[in-house]
């Protein structure tokens, strides 16, 4: 025969909790785990409280440029919830929901954006990577960690998040391909928030879905409603489970929307319409989960009030801790460059400290 079919692929898309907070189709098991649903909700509210406070700090000159996670809460928090403590997370730069779930502290996040390396020490989360600002580079670290797990026969999984813009980078593709070729326990979550700063998805790629990027590496790819915490949780749980049991890597595209400016240094009104944002606002993740909880009588106004107060308190405490940090010692700049400071750096260090001692810096 002259023409045959060499391969066929299908990208599925999943969504259970619609913007109105109603369940559609057959929801996954998690829907009956009320405790987990409430924990997810609480964390989503906490992270949003934190987020708006961080923006306020930046606006008042108390923080550097800050990347908001507004609108991404379901995706980020569900990833954290679906991972095991011994797994390792490789973030980009706005996955505070995942990080808080895994034990990173709010004051550490603030310190990072406040220009202070001490924010990367993660005192209660020794395993996870710090933020990766150079887009897509972290996906290779995740694949590398997964390779270590596989070679050492550890039942651990590396999970990484990348943006829609990030999927255009060669590193992302190289990571996917390596994950496929080596059969690695790694999960790639694409947080498709429709924009890479000012570049809309359709200018980023000719692809209809980003999940289909998986096909180029021979990996399974799936699309989920990234504002539906149930769908994200289910997809990541499945992917992490598969990875842990030797089933290899997968790609999850979580469809969400960046409701904020790209960072506080950005003004999104320059390049996108208010109407589009308003529309996206209607699909945001926290309201819909609250509606589900409320409808199921799992959540009351009193609980909501208590939660808001609790979040506020936690955020305030974090802000105080951050503000109390002060400036790190000048010597810090040298002391983490190598395990042991080489001779030439000892000299530079001594000189720098001596100069600090003298009256001008």
């Amino acid at each position: 025969m002259s023409t045959t079919t060499a391969a066929r692929f299908e990208i599925k898309s999943r969504s259970y909790l619609n913007p109105e907070g109603r369940l559609v189709g057959t929801p996954p098991a998690i829907v009956s785990d009320s405790d987990l649903l409430k924990r997810l909700y609480r964390m989503m509210v906490l992270v949003r409280t934190f987020d708006s406070k961080a923006i306020a700090l930046q606006r008042t000159g108390q923080l550097g440029t800050y990347a908001s996670c507004l609108g991404h809460e379901a995706t980020h928090v569900a990833i954290g919830a679906a991972m095991m403590p011994e797994d390792v997370f490789f973030p980009m730069y706005r996955e505070y929901g995942t990080q808080l779930w895994r034990g990173v502290h709010m004051e550490e996040i603030l310190a990072f954006w406040g220009g202070d390396e001490r924010g990367t020490a993660f005192r209660d989360q020794p395993l996870d990577f710090p933020w990766a600002v150079p887009i897509a580079t972290q996906t290779l670290h995740a694949a590398g960690a997964a390779l270590a797990f596989k070679l050492r026969s550890e039942k651990r999984v590396a999970v990484t998040v990348i943006g829609d813009g990030g999927t255009s980078q060669g590193d992302f593709y190289e990571a996917l391909n390596a994950a496929g070729a080596f059969g690695l326990p790694v999960v790639f979550v694409i947080a498709n928030n429709q924009w890479a700063i000012s570049v809309p998805l359709k200018a980023q790629t000719a692809c209809e879905t980003l999940a289909q990027k998986a096909i180029a590496a021979g990996l399974p790819g799936i699309q989920v409603d990234g504002n539906d915490v149930l769908a994200v949780y289910e997809a990541v749980t499945e992917a992490v489970g598969r990875a842990r049991t030797g089933g290899g890597a997968s790609v999850i595209e979580a469809l969400t929307y960046r409701l904020s400016d790209h960072t506080t240094a950005d003004d999104a009104r320059r390049y996108r319409s208010a109407a589009e944002v308003e529309d996206a606002q209607k699909k945001e993740p926290i309201g819909r989960l609250k509606r589900l909880l409320t409808a199921r009588k799992l959540w009351s106004d009193e609980e909501e009030q208590a939660l808001i107060q609790d979040c506020q308190r936690q955020v305030d405490a974090a802000v105080h801790a951050y503000q109390a940090l002060g400036k790190p010692p000048r010597s810090d700049m040298f002391d983490y460059t190598f395990a042991e400071l080489p001779e030439s750096l000892q000299q530079e260090r001594a000189q720098a400290l001596a100069e600090e001692g003298s009256h001008h810096g």
Partner: protein, 326 residues
């Protein structure tokens, strides 16, 4: 003639090049409707259309590689890298192709492209946004490296870079983007790429610096004159590769003393190159050791410590006093 800041001078030069030569095309991340994250390309897509000012997908090796292909076909692409720490993925394309397509086709094809990139610390930016990496590019044969230190020079040197028949990496010191305004005549006149600029004449010692550090260097020279009666010559390298050594050697020949100031880490920084060449060609004219005042050999710290990393006016002044010690 309006007073403009350095970033506006860049914008003027880009607009002028777009208007004068239909083969000039800008490409980069967020340079179109958004006007660039530093606003260097603001208004240009509106004025020249989306076929002249292109937003690209997010991939720096791609940006360099596309520009090489375009340039080889006779266009004059001016590509923007968004922040200084994200230029590294272009290195393979720049060193393995941009800098050598002319030689590896015996002159049949060439790469008249410009790679614009921000450079340096001091603006409270996030991690990876404050690097100085000019020395990596200065080591690449077949590539010119340029860094202006004022609006006028930004305008003239950028026009020259765009008109140059070979690849030019053009670093823009972000700390100077809005620091001072200057009258810039939008006359389409390029500045030469084969000469340093003497920003201040003097006879006691020579400072060589480039980019944003000239700000501190000039201030140090002013203070030295004011408080120590030291007359310091200040040379702006301007084109960092190939270097115009004549100007430097002539100056050092007169002053006998050389202090080099740059922000990048010391080891294998471009200051070493200048010092080495002078130590070879003018050793007998030197009356004191050549000093380098540079960033330390550490990762550019997050912004709370960035000023502890960058050479300060005081460090520069003290180095000068040290080489002036009898």
């Amino acid at each position: 003639m309006a007073k403009v800041a350095l970033v506006e001078a860049v914008n003027l030069a880009l607009a002028r090049a777009l208007a004068d030569d239909p083969q000039v095309v800008l490409l980069g991340e967020d340079i179109g409707m958004n006007g660039g994250v530093f606003r260097a390309t603001v208004g240009l897509q509106e004025r020249f259309g989306p076929n002249r000012v292109l937003d690209t997908p997010l991939a720096e090796s791609m940006i360099a590689g596309l520009a090489i292909g375009m340039a080889a076909m006779g266009m004059r692409p001016v590509a923007e890298i968004q922040f200084s720490g994200f230029i590294y993925p272009t290195i393979d394309q720049m060193i393995n192709h941009a800098g050598r397509l002319r030689t590896r086709t015996r002159g049949r094809l060439s790469v008249p492209m410009v790679l614009r990139a921000p450079s340096g610390a001091g603006i409270h930016a996030p991690e990876h946004h404050s690097e100085s990496n000019e020395s990596l590019f200065a080591h690449m044969p077949g590539i010119r490296v340029v860094m202006p230190s004022s609006p006028t020079r930004a305008y003239g040197l950028l026009l020259a870079a765009i008109q140059d028949p070979d690849p030019v990496v053009f670093f823009e010191p972000t700390r100077l983007y809005r620091l001072n305004k200057q009258e810039v005549e939008d006359n389409g006149q390029p500045l030469p790429l084969d000469t340093c600029f003497v920003l201040r004449e003097g006879h006691d010692l020579t400072f060589v610096s480039w980019g944003a550090m000239l700000h501190e260097t000039l201030e140090a020279a002013r203070l030295l004159a004011e408080t120590e009666r030291v007359s310091a010559e200040v040379i702006d390298l301007g084109t960092l590769s190939p270097i115009d050594y004549e100007t430097i050697l002539e100056s050092v020949g007169r002053t006998g003393r050389l202090v080099i100031v740059h922000e990048a880490p010391r080891t294998a920084g471009l200051g070493a190159e200048v010092a080495a060449e002078v130590a070879e060609r003018a050793l007998y004219e030197l009356e004191a050791p050549i000093m380098r005042v540079t960033g330390y050999d550490v990762v550019t710290p997050f912004f709370k410590l960035e000023h502890d990393f960058m050479p300060s006016v005081d460090r520069i002044r003290r180095a000068a006093l040290q080489v002036l010690e009898p």
